[in-house]
Symmetry: C2
DNA sequence: CCCGTCACTGTAAACGTTTCCATGAACGTT
DNA sequence: AACGTTCATGGAAACGTTTACAGTGACGGG
């Protein structure tokens, strides 16, 4: 039952019109709610729609009207940080009457461009780029070109939780104060009495990783300590590589504290410490970054820098969607971040030994 | 630079044709790679495409050709379990030359239907439904209708990691052996010597939650123990509700072990135990379900039932995409699950006291 | 009684593709 | 020399909508 008149496939607006004994124009008008038809006709059309189980062909519609699509592009669909930001985008998009879809580059930086192109082909109204590691000279150029192309098509692209590595950003950017957060985190360790504070850095090509490194170094210097390259290891911000890097850091150096580039690698560092028979926080203190839900479940609870993930997403979406005539072409939003104290930090063993009577 | 000839918006195929001095048909043919044009023309067209920064309008294309879109629908975009399954879908979809998008119902069960409708409107080729709590009589009926409508449009819908609650499924289903897993998990606790094994169940409307409950009860009975309703609490499988439910379970009963409906609520249970001053596993044993990455980071490492999340997604996608003429209309794939032993289970305190000399 | 207004509806032209069919040229076969 | 084949191309008809424009009656004011 409920088959359309057309030879095959979905019923079309013509089938509905035929069945309801009106013209396609009338059906279109009623369905898009663009005006008030007399209840009698309205009903006839609705009945036909019901009977045929008709849905508009959104692709055909997009030929004339706006698509109503907002897309989030993430590097890895399983990363809690990215997906928390994405859920913020989703929320705001829905509030603005749009539909949100999530696409992934599957960890391949170059794919970022092809995904954007694909979205442009689909006529999305906004592309929110969250995270993303590829920040080479050439890639940035192509990104700028892609943004311009989107612009021409009436769509907006905004960088979210990631900063533009070049001189001035050709697109909107929403980020949190990463360097300030890193400074605060390192400072937290220093003021607990640590002097040998290591940093488990992220990939150097990644601007937010560099910012964390800078914040770390700045905090050390503010304490009169010159950063020691031996205390800086590098991971790609996953649990596994964090584990490995932390392990060498803890065995090869006299570090009593580690500031990690993100919570994921911090979880790896905690596991590494445990496997080496070092207690956290008694033998070694650990601080993370991001404040993903995991941070609360790791034992001991991870002291970390809170990044307002949902708000990052919401804000980026607002920027993309709410554009008024007078707005400056490029906008930049900087959200604050603050430290969340849990149980993974304590004074260094020697000091705490000295400190107690 | 690089502006199209049209008044505004993106350049069209006509602009390209004009610039390359060929017909639109030729351009279309060359771009879709449907035949081999002489290199000279080929080059002219490519140059024009480049110069105008042209991308096809995928919506217009979808009017005639297939869309190449595969969609995953999840309940909550921030759930690790769902997103791991989704990444499996993504992988397989890409392998089959399709593009994968993720949509969320944002925790609102009814929204599932509207999202499916929206996807139908976009002409997707496959809809993979992962998770999803709404399984009322009426909802299932509507789901079946939606599946039929998709079918008519030449698209496939498959249920993934979730079973059809009614008599026989009107659509393809891929699931893991949930009841068997629950049986094994409970059995693991029983054979460690526990007799007061509690169950932190999921919502009863949710078929996979019911299956876990059944497996739990079956294991108890196999040990000659009649399930005690007092030992069964309920959460909605989040960390927070798991925490609350576990807390009442641990204070109000003499349970020495808890089998949790999923790892998330198990993490809550572990936290509750800790906050009550009960050590895991010495005072209380905990077993989870799913084996999400978190299970490894919780302390102590969570003994849990491994569900092949990626494979679930891959398999569902294959089912949707690889359909041959002779295939039965409805298929059902059941993947195995097995227990992963970590550190959250030990013999009950009394027994272990008795057991040692 | 005429005419402007109004509410409702239909016709047809976009929108940007793909693809069927036709055309003409070059070329090897009989 | 007449003829099929192949190749490269163009014209035009779909695909399923939306929407500008035009048309129909009905109605009420002059």
């Amino acid at each position: 039952m409920a088959r359309g008149r057309s030879s095959s496939g979905r019923p079309t607006i013509r089938d509905v019109a035929e069945r309801a004994q009106v013209s396609v124009a009338t059906v279109s008008r009623i369905l898009s709610g663009s005006y008030t038809a007399p209840p009698e006709t309205q009903e006839r059309v609705m009945k036909a729609v019901e009977a045929l189980d008709y849905v508009v062909n959104a692709n055909a519609r997009s030929l004339n009207a706006r698509s109503g699509l907002v897309a989030v592009v993430v590097n890895d669909i399983t990363s809690p940080f990215f997906m928390n930001v994405a859920s913020g985008v989703e929320e705001q998009a829905m509030a603005d009457g749009r539909v949100c879809i999530v696409c992934s580059t599957q960890g391949v930086p170059e794919r970022e461009l092809s995904v954007i192109e694909l979205l442009r082909a689909r006529g999305v109204e906004a592309v929110i780029l969250v995270g993303g590691m590829a920040e080479g000279e050439q890639h940035l150029g192509q990104l700028a070109a892609a943004a311009e192309a989107l612009d021409r098509a009436g769509a907006r692209m905004v960088l979210c939780g990631r900063s533009w590595a070049g001189p001035d950003a050709p697109i909107d950017v929403v980020e949190s104060d990463v360097e300030g957060g890193a400074f605060a985190a390192t400072n937290h360790l220093l003021s607990a009495g640590h002097t040998r504070v290591a940093h488990l850095a992220g990939p150097h090509e990644f601007s937010v990783a560099r910012q964390r490194l800078h914040g770390y170094e700045r905090a050390l210097r503010a304490y009169g300590i010159e950063p020691d390259p031996a205390l800086i290891a590098s991971s790609d911000m996953t649990r596994e590589t964090g584990y490995a890097a932390a392990r060498t850091l803890l065995t090869g150096t006299d570090a009593t504290a580690v500031f990690c580039a993100n919570d994921m690698s911090a979880a790896g560092a905690v596991a590494a410490a445990r496997d080496l028979g070092r207690s956290v926080p008694d033998d070694v203190s650990v601080v993370g970054f991001d404040d993903i839900p995991l941070a609360e479940d790791v034992y001991p609870g991870l002291t970390t820098v809170h990044v307002p993930q949902q708000e990052l997403g919401r804000s980026a979406t607002r920027l993309a969607l709410h554009r008024r005539a007078g707005d400056p072409p490029r906008r930049h939003v900087m959200l604050g971040s603050h430290i969340v104290v849990r149980q993974s930090v304590a004074p260094p063993a020697r000091l705490s030994g000295k400190g107690t009577p």
